[in-house]
């Protein structure tokens, strides 16, 4: 891994990976690239429909509730908390990867556990938000919110919101499942026996990607 990287090294002359990473990591990158296009297609189709609409619901009117605060008007409040949780879980994931580089088994386990806690916290927040919106009458095919200009809105808004945040939530869910599998392997000593914690890095790449997608979802649905 720590081969000296010089400008003169002939990367394409064979005998070693021209990308200087293992096969598994490269394939994770390629998978994430394809996943980026999937999310990109979803978000761009949302943008296209939004551009073809004469008006659209104001996110500050739709997303303004906070658990436990009743009818208080807190635009952006809850989603800020969700964003913070996800960024934080990304940090604990890098710390787990980092501890893996130094073969500190206990620290890897500790940071992975915190990452799982963050993932579950995020999913719980999303579950609350979805339930709350559902009780307000929003669901696929149903949109109780009016457009920013006061006209009646179509269900395009809710369809895209639930589809895209749902698809992202599905990614978070599978990320949590992967993290749990990796954590149990760390505790069993699988990677200690193997001599490296590269599997933590691969799952870490996936986890950061999920955070990356959220950055775009956050901008597209809550800010713009």
């Amino acid at each position: 891994m720590d081969t000296a990287v010089t400008a003169k090294k002939k990367w394409w002359s064979g005998g070693h990976s021209p990308f200087n990473v293992s096969y598994g990591k490269l394939m994770m990158w390629y998978f994430l690239l394809s996943d980026a296009f999937t999310f990109g297609a979803l978000l761009i189709s949302y943008g296209t429909i939004r551009f073809m609409s004469t008006s659209w619901p104001d996110p500050n009117e739709v997303f303004r509730s906070f658990p436990g605060l009743g009818h208080a008007n807190v635009p952006m409040g809850f989603v800020s908390l969700m964003t913070f949780i996800l960024i934080m879980s990304s940090v604990t994931m890098v710390l787990a990867v980092h501890a893996g580089h130094q073969r500190r088994q206990k620290d890897v386990a500790k940071w992975l556990a915190w990452t799982i806690v963050g993932g579950i916290a995020f999913l719980s927040c999303q579950a609350w938000e979805w339930t709350h919106l559902y009780h307000e009458g929003a669901w696929w095919g149903r949109n109780p919110f009016v457009n920013a200009d006061g006209t009646a809105a179509t269900s395009n808004f809710t369809n895209f919101f639930f589809t895209i945040t749902g698809f992202h939530g599905l990614h978070v869910t599978s990320g949590v499942v992967l993290n749990i599998i990796i954590l149990s392997n760390v505790l069993k000593g699988t990677y200690e026996d193997r001599g490296h914690y590269e599997m933590v890095e691969k799952v870490g790449l996936y986890w950061h990607f999920v955070d990356l997608v959220w950055v775009f979802v956050f901008t597209c649905f809550y800010l713009l």
């Binding site: 200087n20 990158w29 713009l224």
Partner: protein, 138 residues
């Protein structure tokens, strides 16, 4: 990694400290950008001051900055060799065409619906919008 000597281990710890620092620095950058975005959104909501177009441009710019830090630091792509960076980033250039083409298509669709269907029955508000826009064009 396999032939770890004492000196190697010492270097490892040194590298470790500086990269822990980078991790937390990246965290603070991401957090501060997010707080700036939220503050800007609330200022715009309450005063309407920075015009919507400007605010949205800032949001998109800051989103790309955040994406850069996540990919370069957390996903470590910034520290990989150029071959890997290129094989990941080059295909993403397609998004430039992808976004421009589809948003322009959506916009033209909206204009066609407004301008080419004047006779269809519409809610009162929408008719007003059509009238204003039509007057503007003629």
């Amino acid at each position: 990694m396999s032939n770890t000597t004492y000196t190697d281990a010492g270097q490892d710890v040194h590298v470790a400290d500086s990269s822990t620092k980078t991790i937390w620095k990246t965290f603070w950058i991401l957090l501060i950008i997010t707080i700036v975005e939220i503050t800007l959104a609330l200022i715009h909501l309450n005063t309407g001051f920075p015009p919507k177009l400007l605010v949205n441009s800032i949001f998109i710019g800051l989103t790309i900055v955040k994406a850069f830090f996540i990919v370069a630091e957390f996903m470590h792509l910034g520290h990989e060799i150029k071959n890997l960076i290129m094989t990941i980033m080059m295909p993403l250039l397609l998004f430039i065409w992808f976004i421009i083409a589809f948003l322009a298509d959506g916009d033209s669709w909206k204009n066609m619906r407004k301008n080419l269907a004047p006779g269809t029955a519409k809610p009162v508000e929408k008719v007003q919008v059509i009238h204003e826009e039509g007057g503007h064009h003629e």
